[in-house]
């Protein structure tokens, strides 16, 4: 059930902080992995100007393996397509001012979208505050990773934050029993898809979610 509070909600604050901490740990890992490929300055700059773990890890992994610029774009563009369904879900809860949406778009990531959708407070504020926390953690984590910090034993546990968060978000955004059924069907179908066709990636999973949501939908 969505919280009735806005960003003063302690549950929202605690969840946003735990997500930011996990993102910070991944920032450390990214900084350590990317520094030998991009150099210190460009690694930090990449986190400052991109703010997308999926895109940045993909870019650095492909650069390290000698991929062409075209190959890197072919992998990054599909990742960027996920912004369309994320924004579509948020649009109804945002003020129509286009300039404000342009600024807020900087914080459009899976986690902040989920937190904004699962709380009944002002979506703009939730997106901005949780996004700023996540962005700060990502950049600071990158700087720490470049400086030689190690995520050590925290990395496996930080890895678990995201599935845990998404399971929780699926539960709180399921308003009726049919939503729960659709979430279970989509989750199971995505596991089967990703285990049998690993190349399907997140975009394949999103296609599954859209297909499940579309069955029987009427305006």
């Amino acid at each position: 059930m969505a919280s009735r509070a806005g960003t003063n909600d302690p549950a929202l604050t605690a969840t946003a902080l735990s997500v930011a901490a996990a993102i910070g740990v991944f920032g450390v890992v990214y900084g350590a992995v990317a520094e030998p490929v991009l150099g210190a300055g460009l690694t930090v700059a990449s986190s400052v100007v991109i703010f997308s773990g999926a895109a940045q890890f993909t870019m650095v992994g492909l650069l390290a393996s000698g991929a062409t610029a075209l190959g890197i774009m072919a992998s990054v563009v599909p990742l960027a397509l996920r912004h369309l369904p994320l924004a579509a879900m948020l649009q109804a809860r945002l003020a129509p001012r286009r300039v404000g949406r342009v600024f807020l778009s900087w914080f459009l990531i899976d986690e902040t979208t989920g937190l904004a959708l699962s709380h009944s407070g002002p979506a703009e504020r939730i997106l901005a505050v949780t996004g700023a926390l996540a962005y700060g953690a990502w950049v600071l984590g990158t700087v720490a990773g470049v400086a030689g910090a190690s995520a050590g034993n925290l990395a496996p546990v930080a890895d678990a934050v995201f599935p845990v968060l998404f399971i929780g978000l699926a539960a709180v955004t399921a308003r009726v029993r049919a939503d729960t059924a659709r979430a279970v069907i989509a989750g199971c179908a995505a596991v089967v898809l990703l285990l049998t066709v690993p190349g399907a990636g997140v975009l394949g999973g999103i296609a599954v979610a859209v297909a499940v949501a579309a069955v029987g939908a009427r305006p």
């Binding site: 990449s46 369904p85 899976d110 890895d159 845990v164 399971i167 399921a174 989750g187 997140v202």
Partner: protein, 97 residues
């Protein structure tokens, strides 16, 4: 293309797609709006599946422990409880592995 130019292009694609999605693409209407209205729970479920399976298909004990513990809490429909219990399960999975 230099690494700096690649970073710039990836930034342009990522940031551009965010702006496009948030400020240019019109809000969904009609049948599409009905689909989007039903999308959040299945979408977060597939994102959970994707982060559990990972890129290489290897199932991590901490992730499995976290996901299993989180699933136990879903009937409570409290994000905080799910996160706290899920992370406890992840630590248990990590220690036991």
């Amino acid at each position: 293309m230099s690494p700096a130019a690649i970073v710039a292009v990836v930034a342009a694609v990522t940031v551009g797609s965010r702006i496009l999605a948030m400020a240019v693409v019109p809000p969904p209407r009609g049948h599409l709006a009905a689909v989007v209205d039903r999308l959040p729970a299945p979408l977060f479920a597939v994102l959970a599946a994707a982060t559990i399976v990972g890129n290489d298909g290897n199932l991590d004990p901490a992730v499995l422990g976290g996901a299993g513990a989180a699933l136990v809490t879903v009937r409570r429909r409290s994000l905080l409880i799910t996160v706290v219990v899920g992370l406890s399960g992840a630590m248990a999975g990590h220690v036991l592995a």
